[in-house]
């Protein structure tokens, strides 16, 4: 795809590079990349792909900008709070590079829209924040035969890889089974170093550009791990597991009906016992004999000032195990019902509790 004079000037530092050149820059302009999630990883990916002159960029994100995003999601400003991320990102990126065409999808990626949307692009970038969507994205890439540039983060660590590239391994070849939902906390539960998605996202952008230009060695068949605390990288080899790929392909006709939340154990089909805030209030009113275990930090509000409340912050849970009742109902609570789920997972698996109930929506509106 030909560049005009303005574009040739703008991309001159790329064009000067022998391994990019005018040909390479034209390849970038012809390329169509879909970025899933415009959050921590999506922001730096989008910024660098836009600056690099990728001709068509799709942005899919149903979420809205929140004040707690601004610590790491560097496309957004205070005035964007409450706005849809995909739309806001597009507006911002257009200012950075008006030569790029953006397709905005301010909606959730589902099995119903994934195949059709993916079909419009050459390459998919995973910047999602949950396992259900990660497996969905992988499977849709396998079905539509698109390379997938994967990135994922946890606290101070990150992972990068390229999946489904020229017959290489897929995400399921690395992690065939999704973990139990309570075993892997998300950024909103346990925190994340703000600069980390920047480091991992720029790695993803680099992989995308190498694949488009067909230069260097994309991270196919390799998993790069990064630890920001000691600044160490480790590259591990991953082999393709043909049976995992075939499983996805043989189910492709049924893809639209697959429930990925169920597959990842997110829905109520798993064993987790839950109660609502309303039920909890009633238990107090009726003087039911039970214990409430609050796994939040001491400073978190609102506090529950009642008898039989045990304050056991999640990261010190082990020290409180002896104080948790085993012979009556125990309701585990946190702010939004997510850390408490993780606490229940630990207590059930490691200490064999079977009397724990999760306060579904958390104690925030106590």
């Amino acid at each position: 795809m030909k560049l005009n004079d303005q574009e040739k000037h703008r991309y001159s530092r790329h064009i000067l590079l022998k391994r990019v050149g005018l040909k390479g820059q034209e390849k970038l302009k012809a390329a169509k990349v879909l970025v899933i999630g415009a959050g921590g990883l999506g922001c730096p990916v989008l910024q660098y792909l836009t600056a690099a002159g990728v001709g068509t960029i799709g942005i899919i994100d149903f979420d809205r900008v929140d004040a707690t995003n601004l610590q790491r999601q560097i496309l957004y400003t205070v005035s964007d709070i409450g706005q849809n991320k995909a739309v806001t990102a597009k507006n911002r990126l257009t200012q950075l590079n008006p030569h790029v065409n953006f397709d905005v999808y301010p909606e959730k990626l589902t099995t119903k829209n994934a195949i059709e949307v993916f079909s419009n692009y050459d390459l998919i970038v995973d910047g999602t924040d949950n396992f259900s969507t990660r497996y969905l994205v992988n499977d849709a890439c396998v079905i539509t035969n698109k390379p997938l540039v994967y990135g994922a983060i946890y606290k101070f660590e990150g992972q990068v890889s390229v999946f489904n590239y020229k017959g290489g391994p897929t995400y399921r070849c690395l992690f065939p089974e999704p973990p139990k939902p309570e075993s892997v906390p998300s950024c909103s539960d346990v925190g994340v170093l703000g600069v980390l998605p920047g480091l991992i996202g720029t790695q993803q952008a680099n992989e995308v550009i190498k694949i488009i230009l067909d230069i260097g060695e994309p991270l196919s068949g390799k998993l790069l791990t990064y630890d920001s605390l000691n600044n160490s990288f480790l590259t591990l080899s991953v082999n393709r597991a043909e049976e995992e790929v075939q499983k996805v392909l043989s189910n492709s006709d049924d893809f639209k009906n697959i429930d990925y939340d169920f597959f990842c154990g997110v829905t109520s089909e798993n064993k987790l016992k839950e109660i609502s805030l309303e039920e909890l209030r009633k238990m107090f009113e009726d003087n039911v004999d039970f214990q409430l275990v609050d796994v939040r930090e001491a400073w978190e509000q609102p506090r529950v000032e009642k008898k039989n409340v045990l304050k056991a912050p999640l990261n010190q849970l082990d020290n409180f195990v002896a104080k948790i009742a085993k012979n009556k109902k125990v309701v585990v609570v946190c702010q939004h019902g997510i850390r408490s789920r993780s606490a229940i997972g630990q207590l059930e698996t490691v200490y064999n509790f079977d009397n724990l109930f999760n306060l579904k929506e958390g104690i925030e509106n106590w």
Binding site: D126, G127, A152, Q159, F175, P179, S183, V184, P197, L234
Partner: protein, 78 residues
């Protein structure tokens, strides 16, 4: 011979360390895994894959005893 075990993400929290050297001999990854679950019961709650000498391997992989082993949990954050 010394086996080096590196822990990533949640597995580092479960073991309380980033890396350690094990002097005991384990003949397969399965044996090593079972021993680690006894040493660190919290690992039971975590899905992880194991790499030996920088290659992902399965439970039947034979260990010589001088490998560098890594425990890799999946991350979901983005």
């Amino acid at each position: 011979m010394t086996l080096i075990v590196k822990y990533f993400g949640m597995t580092a929290e479960a073991s309380g360390k980033g890396e350690e050297e094990l002097l005991e001999h384990y003949s397969t990854i399965r044996e090593l895994k079972e021993a680690l679950l006894v040493m660190y019961p919290k690992l039971k709650n975590i899905n992880f894959k194991i790499a030996a000498n920088q290659t992902l391997v399965n439970n039947d992989f034979d260990l010589i005893g001088n490998e560098e082993v890594a425990l890799l949990p999946p991350f979901s954050g983005g």
